[in-house]
């Protein structure tokens, strides 16, 4: 009896300690980013580019990079989400135990393991070298899409599998065809989970640097057109500024990192509110 209580105590403490240990890096990263990033996180930083800023100038900002990131991630999401969602629906609702579904599932697994630089190299070799397309935000979005699709497929697949088969059966038993059951019963039931899966994908690709290096190329000036010419992106901006030997540049890098975190957080909050509003109706 005493032994059981003791074990319970020890395990409880152990779980609490590991929990704190797991959270420690997260909070220290957040804390460092906020502390160092707030130094340059100001109106100028959010509204100006790096065009014409000298090496030791304290001015300049990441506006061009914010625009680039929003456009690249936006385009990648537009391409990846329909593809990934349809793949997940196929795997859960139609594929069953068929050979083709197994192959698709295997390919998705392999894609999950593709290093992000390889995705960038692939788009560089295929889109820019072979097809003679220019460096552009869109080329970066292509690379990000390759990374985002498998994450969103896996996430959505799990969420769709959580929808009880009783609901599908209830719908079939009403004489509702399968496609309508999926559209009107299964997807709405899984919606909050699907949004989470998509946001995980967005968060993941928003921070990617490697695939952008060879596709978006990076720039100091504002380029609002994601289809023509080099752009910047926040991860590229941070990568570039952090490597410079001046404190003013390093401060800009921290502010860029902070902006990146805030963008992902804001997207998450907006997505969640949208789902909640829909559920309330």
């Amino acid at each position: 009896m005493r032994r059981r209580k003791l074990t319970n105590r020890v395990m409880g403490v152990l779980i609490a300690v590991t929990f704190v240990l797991a959270l420690l890096p997260l909070f220290s990263v957040l804390w460092l980013t906020v502390k160092n990033g707030s130094k340059r996180f100001d109106a100028e930083f959010l509204t100006h580019s790096m065009k014409g800023i000298g090496a030791t100038d304290a001015a300049g900002g990441a506006y061009h990079a914010i625009v680039g990131t929003l456009e690249q991630v936006g385009l990648a999401t537009l391409m990846a989400v329909p593809l990934a969602l349809l793949t997940a629906v196929y795997l859960v609702e139609y594929g069953g135990i068929s050979r083709f579904a197994k192959i698709v599932s295997y390919v998705v697994d392999v894609m999950t393991g593709v290093p992000s630089i390889v995705a960038g190299l692939f788009v560089f070799a295929f889109w820019i070298l072979a097809l003679h397309q220019p460096f552009s935000g869109f080329a970066g979005a292509l690379a990000l899409t390759i990374l985002m699709v498998p994450i969103v497929v896996r996430g959505c697949e799990e969420m769709l599998r959580l929808v009880p088969s009783e609901l599908r059966e209830a719908s079939y038993a009403l004489g509702i065809p399968r496609w309508k059951t999926i559209l009107r019963i299964v997807l709405p039931t899984a919606l909050p989970g699907l949004v989470t899966a998509i946001m995980l994908g967005v968060a993941r690709i928003t921070g990617e640097t490697a695939p952008l290096l060879l596709t978006v190329f990076g720039a100091d000036a504002i380029n609002n057109d994601p289809f023509h010419g080099p752009q910047s992106g926040l991860p590229l901006f941070v990568f570039d500024q952090a490597a410079r030997p001046n404190q003013v540049a390093v401060d800009r890098a921290w502010a860029g990192a902070l902006t990146l975190i805030l963008i992902v957080m804001a997207l998450n909050v907006v997505a969640r509110l949208a789902v909640r509003r829909r559920a309330a109706h």
């Binding site: 609901l167 209830a170 719908s171 079939y172 038993a173 509702i176 019963i185 039931t189």
Partner: protein, 258 residues
């Protein structure tokens, strides 16, 4: 409305597993037919062959004939979606659509079949909820989620949902097994009312329930584990419970087995 079901030589399989063998049975309209028997005897599987829900499970198939009045529901040119529209089903566990309100749950079958007119939907929702003896309890909160109701109310909601599309036959797969006695009585009373208009087939583990609500009882059993379920006999409920023709039925009814 209320069609006769005529089953002959029906076999059902799950992949290689032979679940139900050679069932022939006529189910009369405007009556309640109870399917009883031990677990695994194939009565639920048999029930699901009557609206082609059996084949929803991957690898499941059926051979034999099921006729709904004159229509052979397994004929090659018959769409299972149409069959299910005529043969409604209520499941063991109440399964209202969680994203929908009470109103939308009842209206779901009609809405998703393309009915848009609000007046038609309103009328159907009220009529179905009244038929399911649920109207008085929920009429003031039709826009609340269906999942906010109690278990017994949810099951009546599912019955309302099933009859909203005006089927000819209502299949019920152990509809009271997840409910308390009060809710069970409510559903049983409902069945007696509904049989005026529908052909009702109910699977139940509860022999008292079969005796209380059904006009005809069909007894299924398996001879040994792994063997397919078979129909032992079907007769008026009074006959089955007082003087069954088969020894196996009597053993089951009297509790000597199963």
């Amino acid at each position: 409305m209320a069609k006769r079901i005529d089953v002959s030589g029906l076999d059902a399989y799950y992949g290689k597993v032979h679940a139900v063998a050679d069932v022939s049975l006529t189910i009369e309209p405007r009556s309640v037919t109870a399917l009883i028997g031990p677990s695994g005897c194939g009565k639920s599987t048999f029930l699901r062959t009557l609206n082609r829900m059996h084949e929803v499970i991957p690898g499941a198939r059926v051979s034999g004939k099921v006729r709904l009045d004159e229509l052979d529901i397994y004929a090659p040119d018959v769409d299972p979606v149409d069959v299910r529209r005529t043969v409604g089903m209520v499941f063991q566990r109440p399964n209202p659509f969680p994203t929908m309100s009470i109103y939308d749950n009842v209206a779901a079958g009609l809405k998703l079949s393309g009915v848009r007119r609000k007046s038609v939907l309103d009328e159907a929702v009220e009529r179905s909820l009244r038929s399911a003896n649920l109207w008085v309890e929920v009429r003031s909160r039709l826009n609340k989620p269906g999942a906010s109701l109690s278990g017994g109310q949810q099951q009546r909601l599912c019955i309302a949902r099933a009859i909203a599309v005006e089927p000819d036959v209502l299949l019920m797969d152990e509809p009271c097994s997840a409910l308390d006695p009060i809710s069970t009585i409510a559903i049983e009373d409902l069945m007696v009312e509904l049989k005026e208009r529908y052909t009702i087939v109910i699977v139940t583990h509860n022999m008292q329930q079969a005796a209380r609500v059904s006009d005809v009882t069909a007894f299924f059993t398996i001879s040994a584990p792994g063997e397919p379920g078979r129909l032992v006999e079907a007769d008026t409920t009074r006959k089955i419970f007082s003087n069954p023709a088969e020894k196996a039925t009597e053993d089951y009814i009297t509790g000597r087995f199963g």
